[in-house]
């Protein structure tokens, strides 16, 4: 019987490179095949929804960070508003709730005004960042909710392993929707503060 000799890698290091390259490409090929949606869905029917929920959770951490950034920008805006008030010389007969812009030609006033505009832009950008993400998540969760409900309703003869998984995912979706509503309320509160600050600036 003919003996099969494996190449002696220790004596031929360049073989390491060839083996590693082939192994790496094979790894990518196998992983790619397993991660194709059709294959994954066949092997793990709930994997897609679990992945979506994982992505949504990642978005939630970005939304939380975004809300914190928005609050920080609003605080800076408030500080600038207070600085403008200090620069302003108001006659006593005027209402002091919304103050006029610093008079033109006043260097410090112009600087504060320019900084105000730049800070307002940054604050609105932070607000839009969070609002846009929440808009996506809202639509996605509604869609997942509909799809899972119809899966449960229409699939009464589903296997005993699939139905509990679907119910578990549905529960998570509903929890996520509740959390989203909380973020939505936080964003609304912060947006109202921004509108108030903007109105003060426009009326001055």
């Amino acid at each position: 019987m003919k003996k099969f000799h494996l190449p002696d890698i220790t004596r031929n290091p360049s073989l390491w490179g060839r083996w590693l390259l082939a192994a790496g490409l094979l790894l990518v090929s196998v992983q790619g095949l397993l991660q194709l949606y059709e294959v994954r869905h066949y092997l793990f029917p709930c994997a897609y929804h679990e992945l979506k929920l994982k992505l949504i959770n990642e978005e939630y951490s970005r939304i939380e960070t975004g809300l914190q950034s928005l609050k920080a920008e609003l605080d800076k805006l408030q500080v600038l508003r207070d600085q403008q008030e200090r620069l302003e010389l108001l006659p006593t007969s005027r209402s002091s709730s919304c103050l006029a812009s610093p008079p033109s030609g006043d260097g410090a006033g112009l600087h504060v005004e320019a900084t105000w505009q730049s800070q307002l832009h940054a604050t609105k950008k932070a607000q839009v960042y969070v609002a846009q993400k929440m808009n996506y998540i809202r639509v996605m969760l509604e869609s997942m909710d509909r799809s899972l409900q119809s899966k449960l309703a229409g699939n009464k003869s589903a296997s005993s392993t699939t139905k509990p998984e679907v119910e578990k995912i549905l529960q998570q979706v509903q929890k996520d929707r509740t959390l989203l509503q909380r973020y939505h309320d936080d964003l609304n509160n912060l947006s109202e503060q921004l509108i108030k600050l903007e109105k003060c600036d426009k009326s001055s």
């Binding site: 090929s29 992983q31 991660q35 609105k124 846009q132």
Partner: protein, 537 residues
């Protein structure tokens, strides 16, 4: 006597087979889906060129605008972007009629020309047929490139002009007039395709050429190149509102844009492992002070790589960071990857074959390494049948070609053609431009900015994806529609049995759907004005 294999080779040259496949992929079903917003902008302006001779944003009924009116002057002449693509479409309309197929045809043909030029560039300059064929095959199978080439936009035009400039550069442009003229005009016309392409590519190209081919370039010819190209682009500097757009350049977002561009680059153009290998290979040469590669093929690969790197660096200060600004780099990447495959085949046939299959028919080598490193960018709204997931891109692409896709713009056009009456006005938050092109209604809203409304519109389209303007204020159309529907006695809600996608037939891999979503997100919602005249028979 000729060997049978040689006879077959001469009868059916592989490049012809590749071009035939490319032609099918580029030209078949070119009008399966209607224009999306940006395409409709070009098509609408081209339609007006046929009427007025120049791209006019207003045709007496509708206004074409996506920048709140900044794109045109007081006489509505378009100043925002160069006109070459608009006139190409106008010529196509003149010859083929006002159809989707006619508008996209010239750009699809230019995409096919890019596949041929990639082959020719390599074969003619290096005599390496396997490399040339592999590069052409890679580009022909490159689904993002195919998608962009099938758009009624400058993308394949820019790629073609860049390849033409590279071709001219490798010819003896220093002494021969033909290649010199080709170089001047390809760069000059690139400006009239898209300024950003011109600026980012030309700067990178000149720097890379100076670094690697300094011994072949004379100062006199270089100066001539700069002067002649400058003369060609000079009228455009006065005609177009470049200074308005230059004012938008921001240094703040450079690091973020660089991250986004490199992310896109490794996710769709050159796989990260390949880029790391090239970086290691050339870094090792420099470290050992062995100098830059002298062998002409590898020197050329380094040249293309430096162009790509310089291109991305020059794009980074531009605030609008979009994948479409990298499309002209796909042919260069095909050349680089073709070379890598041939070298790998020579190193180890099994790995070469496997690498070739992975790069031609899958996106796994792009997506998976980034996923493993936690660097993959996959928007949360993406579906598993998109290019941000491990997939067989050609299979998805062919699925779209073979089955009609329920395009959002198609559904809106169909809805209004069926339900709206002549003379009706439609106010929409987005997708106004496709409606303007394909219907005879007055369509307002979108990103036009100020909307004069008298009388109130007959139809409202509130898309689920909310849009803000560049100042991060809600768009006028969004505010107005929300205001109008707040009174339930004025408009009634109509749900169209079709999905409301964000864009439609946008080619960008983060937004392009080949097949309907696994789970539709949101239906199209339209509001119809309640009035006795409309509802009484």
């Amino acid at each position: 006597m000729t060997e049978p294999s040689n006879r077959i080779y001469h009868l059916f040259p592989p490049i012809l087979i590749i071009l035939a496949v490319g032609a099918f992929l580029l030209l078949f079903g070119l009008d399966n889906r209607p224009f999306w917003q940006d395409e409709a902008e070009t098509a609408g302006l081209a339609k007006n060129v046929l009427k007025y001779g120049v791209p006019r944003a207003y045709d007496g009924v509708n206004i074409i605008s996506q920048e709140a009116g900044k794109e045109y002057n007081h006489d509505f002449i378009w100043r925002w972007s160069p006109w070459l693509q608009i006139y190409v479409v106008a010529a196509a309309f003149r010859l083929g009629g006002l159809t989707t197929y006619a508008a996209r045809f010239p750009f699809a043909v230019l995409g096919l020309a890019c596949i041929f030029l990639v082959y020719r560039l390599v074969q003619h300059n290096f005599g390496n047929r396997p490399w040339a064929l592999m590069a052409a095959a890679l580009l022909a199978c490159c689904v993002p490139f195919l998608l962009f080439s099938r758009q009624c936009r400058y993308y394949s035009l820019g790629a073609f002009l860049i390849l033409a400039s590279l071709y001219a550069f490798r010819e003896d442009w220093q002494t021969k007039r033909g290649p010199a003229l080709l170089l001047y005009f390809s760069l000059g016309l690139l400006f009239y395709s898209n300024y950003l392409l011109f600026l980012s590519y030309t700067g990178a190209f000149l720097l890379a050429a100076g670094l690697l081919y300094y011994s072949e370039i004379s100062l006199a010819r270089n100066l001539k190149l700069i002067i002649v190209t400058g003369i060609i682009i000079l009228p455009g500097l006065f005609l177009f509102s470049i200074q308005q757009q230059v004012a938008m350049i921001s240094l703040e977002g450079i690091s973020k844009n660089l991250g986004n561009y490199f992310g896109d680059f490794f996710q769709f153009l050159i796989p990260l492992p390949v880029a790391l290998y090239l970086g290691w290979r050339w870094g090792r040469l420099l470290w050992r002070r062995a100098g830059l590669p002298l062998e002409s093929e590898e020197r050329y690969i380094l040249f293309l790589s430096l162009i790509i790197l310089g291109n991305i660096l020059l794009l980074s200060p531009i605030p609008q960071c979009e994948h479409r600004y990298l499309v002209h780099l796909y042919p260069l990447c095909a050349i680089i990857l073709g070379w890598i495959i041939i070298k790998t085949w020579r190193y180890q046939k099994f790995s070469g074959a496997l690498l070739g299959l992975l790069l031609l028919f899958t996106n796994w080598l792009w997506v998976l390494p980034l996923d493993w490193l936690g660097l993959l960018y996959r928007p949360v709204h993406n579906d598993p049948h998109m290019l941000t997931y491990p997939n067989l891109p050609l299979k998805l692409y062919l699925s779209e070609l073979s089955s009609p896709y329920p395009d959002v713009n198609q559904n809106l056009i169909r809805f209004f053609k069926t339900h709206a009456h002549p003379g009706d006005t439609i106010l929409t938050t987005y997708g106004d431009l496709p409606l303007q092109f394909y219907t005879s209604f007055k369509v307002v809203g979108g990103l036009q900015g100020h909307i004069p409304l008298s009388p109130p519109p007959d139809w409202l389209v509130l898309r689920w994806y909310t849009r803000w303007n560049r100042h991060y204020d809600l768009n006028e159309s969004e505010k107005l529609i929300r205001q109008l529907i707040s009174d339930p006695t004025k408009y009634q809600r109509v749900v169209v049995a079709a999905e409301d996608e964000i864009y439609g037939n946008r080619a960008d891999p983060y937004f392009h759907h080949f097949v309907p979503r696994t789970e539709p997100l949101s239906p199209i919602v339209v509001y119809e004005k309640i009035s006795p005249a409309r509802h009484n028979p």
